[in-house]
Amino acid sequence: MKRFEYLSIRVMALLAAALCIHLFLIAVLLFLAFMGHAPFWPAILSLVLLLGLLWWFGAMILKPYLHMERTMRLFLDGYTTADLTHLCQTAPTPMVYQMLAHMMKIMDSSELLKLNKRQAQYLALQNQINPHFLYNTLESIRSEALIAGLTGVADMTEALAAFFRYTISKVENLVSVEEELENCQTYFRIQQYRFGSRLDLTIECDPEEREEIYGCRLPKLTMQPILENSIIHGTECKIGTGHLTIHLERSGKRLLIRISDDGVGMDEEVLSRMNERLGRSGQAFASQGSETRGGIALVNVNNRIHLLFGEEYGLHVFSMPGVGTDVEINLPAIANDRELKNKEALK
């Protein structure tokens, strides 16, 4: 009897009963017509009416209902965070529609982004980072090092200061590919002090398209966390020199950035899990804070891309154990912040 607690089941049962009664009546009318007690036309008319009703029911009720069920199932599985009122195309009642609209308003993508931002600010506060204090201190260290003739220390401090300046300020902004690449190079310079010649970075870009690609806009700190991931999880554990490559390419509507390493890679199972997490951004939002497994940086970057540009864009990982890992970042090729659909998120 538990099944009957759902309205849909009750409606289905009612419709099945109505159908049975209608069929019974048609059978009676046909029987009477065959016996010569009644004309044929009422039976035929009933049959045509029934077929018409069934067709209408299938097209106008059953199909949208099944579509709605499927969309909701995928929403629950975490595949999407997009507007359900738009995806479902129809709703059972006006109140349910309003409820869905209200729910989507609550989890508005720009609101989610703001929540992310607030979390970042909170973390910065928690870490007691005062940007100006940090820059000033680093500059002081740099000048002391220069006076003492320690150019290596001075350069390292300069790189660290540049990195922090870029990282801490205005996290919510869109930046140009060129700026993001510069930050990656700064970060790489810092890492090189640790790894020395064990690490090298190549940036590949078609010279004819360089200007166009470098002018494209993307969310700040999109590439650096992935590069960091490649170094820490990919090449750090590798014996011998690690080669990192940032490959930039542009098609008509897309900007494709591939960050590759020739590190330890990951097996098929881990890869599958990683891509599943990246695909189901809804799940990542639902379990925000409770997630403890690795690959947080990738999921975080992916979520930001989803929120800003839509689910059509994002990250995808390719990897083979012992061969290396490629992280492909897929973005819309926009040269101006005004072209961004979800401008609210930047305010």
Partner: protein, 519 residues
């Protein structure tokens, strides 16, 4: 700025609740030949179906020429499902009308052709520049059924070009055409790629894909795990991971040299100056326990040879000797023949498993069909090897592996003096190829020579003791195992032979120059 012809973005595609493609991402650029190397066939046919039609997705997005054509949120239904993407798929199974001419297939059977009256002269003229463009000479009036496999592939390709399709998928075609034809086809693909067409080349081996394609993507269990640029070295760990057993087999065989008994006393099979159809003056022999690979360089004589060996056709001249006596032609059970794609050609679905197994046993046991006792005893004996359940399973419900087991065990039971195997690894995924290799080794271990007839060396070489490369006119180049490392082709497992040669542990290289022309 480059343009993307086709993109699948995180596609998850399910059929009957099973995810056949999972987070599948792939992009093909204009003018690119992308290689796809499936380590297993899981999801491959689903991928081809999705390329053909915009089927409802569980999740993901499909773009054609940078336009969203399939969105999981708004699945295409009814007539819309028929793909608007102009994609052609070329497979072994032809989509051409066999009873029509080349020109009819290319021009008349294309969407948008409105003429009511055909003018063959005009069609011939229209086809001419296309043929000249690629340096081919296929008559416009030739019927499709009269064309060779390679010519058919070219016609299908031209059909795609004329129809204005931007993407052409070529599925595992190297197993159907010879190495020389493959080279020619590769040149044609390059020519059209320069004109902006794109190709997805599905290949069984990484080396082959790398030879032809700009990039090669490795597919495993319905997802692309890695893409490699054309110049990148084949990843050794890939072989170690996906083909570990294959490597082991090759290495084991390299280390074990004592099985083949050579010398005139051990010759089991001898073919002398055989002429039949396109086979001219072909001579070769096989010794006890030897695995001989006969590569048909021009893809023109395998079927003829099989027909002669099975007694279906009588040779024009020449002789075939088995253990010192002439071959008996039709139903000579001393010759075991395993046909190409045997699961489709050598099984009888209307017969039981046991009847299929006993099919060629009549010469060994009289009254095998009438006496249930023999069959029962066979069942008991082979249940350990084949499994108890298979005997009660209808043929159609057997797995691919079980079907191969049945066919090879049937030939094993036949106890032939020699086994001829036509392209045994064709269209089989990696794990199945390993199993086929083990099945063939069963014959070799019993001292039965195996002759593998193939147009493409691919995996055959892993098992071979000797290779004969046969060209038109009966020219034969002979290579012994020690000389495989110097083969002038890019074939899988070549690195293992080269390693073996480098080590100098397992065998010594002969000093004479290769190839040795015997004819």
């Amino acid at each position: 700025m480059r343009e993307e012809v086709y993109r699948m973005e995180r596609v998850t595609y399910c059929e009957q609740g099973v995810a056949l493609l999972e987070n599948f991402s792939m992009a093909i650029w204009t003018g690119e030949i992308l290689g796809l190397v499936p380590a297993n066939h899981f999801g491959l046919s689903a991928l081809l179906r999705l390329l053909r039609q915009n089927l409802p997705l569980h999740y993901g997005f499909v773009y054609y020429k940078e336009r969203l054509v399939n969105d999981w949120r708004f699945p295409c239904t009814g007539m819309n499902r028929v793909s608007t993407n102009r994609v052609s798929i070329i497979q072994n199974q032809s989509c051409l009308a066999k009873d029509l001419t080349v020109a009819d297939n290319i021009f008349v059977l294309r969407p948008g052709f409105r003429k009511r009256l055909m003018q063959p002269g005009i069609l011939r003229e229209q086809l001419k520049p296309f043929m000249e463009d690629i340096g081919m000479e296929i008559p416009a009036d030739a019927y499709i059924e009269d064309l060779s496999t390679f010519e058919r592939f070219v016609v299908e390709l031209l059909k795609a070009v004329v129809a204005g399709n931007h993407l052409v998928v070529l599925e595992d075609i190297s197993t159907f055409i010879s190495a020389a034809e493959l080279e020619k086809l590769s040149r044609i693909l390059r020519h059209y790629a320069k004109q902006g067409m794109s190709f997805l080349y599905v290949a069984a081996h990484f080396e082959e894909a790398q030879q032809i394609c700009d990039r090669a993507a490795l597919m495993l269990n319905g997802q692309i795990i890695k893409c490699f640029g054309g110049a990148e070295k084949p990843p050794d760990p890939f072989f170690l991971r996906c083909t570990e057993d294959f490597d082991r087999h090759v290495r084991e065989r390299m280390a074990r040299q004592d099985r083949t008994e050579t010398g005139p006393d051990h010759i089991v099979f001898r073919m002398e100056n055989l002429c039949s159809g396109l086979v001219e003056n072909l001579s070769f022999s096989a010794c006890k326990g030897e695995c001989l690979v006969v590569q048909d360089l021009d893809n023109c004589m395998i079927q003829e040879l099989v027909s002669v060996l099975s007694g279906g056709t009588r040779q024009k001249s020449g002789s075939i000797w088995i253990n010192g006596t002439l071959s008996g032609g039709l139903n000579d059970r001393r010759v075991g023949i395993i046909q190409e794609l045997p699961v489709h050609t050598m099984l009888f679905p209307n017969m039981s498993y046991l009847d299929n197994l006993c099919f060629t046993l009549d010469h060994r046991m009289k009254g095998v069909w009438g006496r249930g006792k023999i069959k029962k005893s066979l069942r008991r004996e082979y249940a350990g090897l084949l499994g108890e359940d298979v005997f009660d399973t209808p043929i159609e419900r057997l797995t691919e592996r079980q079907k191969y087991d049945l066919i090879y065990t049937r030939i094993f039971l036949q106890d032939p003096d020699i086994v001829f195997c036509v392209q045994p690894f064709k269209s089989a995924e990696v794990s199945l190829r390993i199993h086929i290799m083990e099945l063939l080794e069963r014959f070799l271990n019993r001292g039965i020579p195996v002759v593998i007839m193939a147009v493409n060396l691919a995996d055959s070489l892993a098992l071979a003791d000797r290779l004969l490369r046969v060209g038109r006119g009966g020219t034969v180049q002979e290579y012994c195992r020690e000389e495989f490392a110097a083969l002038p082709v890019n074939t899988p497992w070549l690195y293992l032979y080269q390693e073996g040669q480098g080590d100098g542990m397992n065998f010594q290289t002969r000093s004479r120059d290769i190839p040795v022309l015997r004819q």
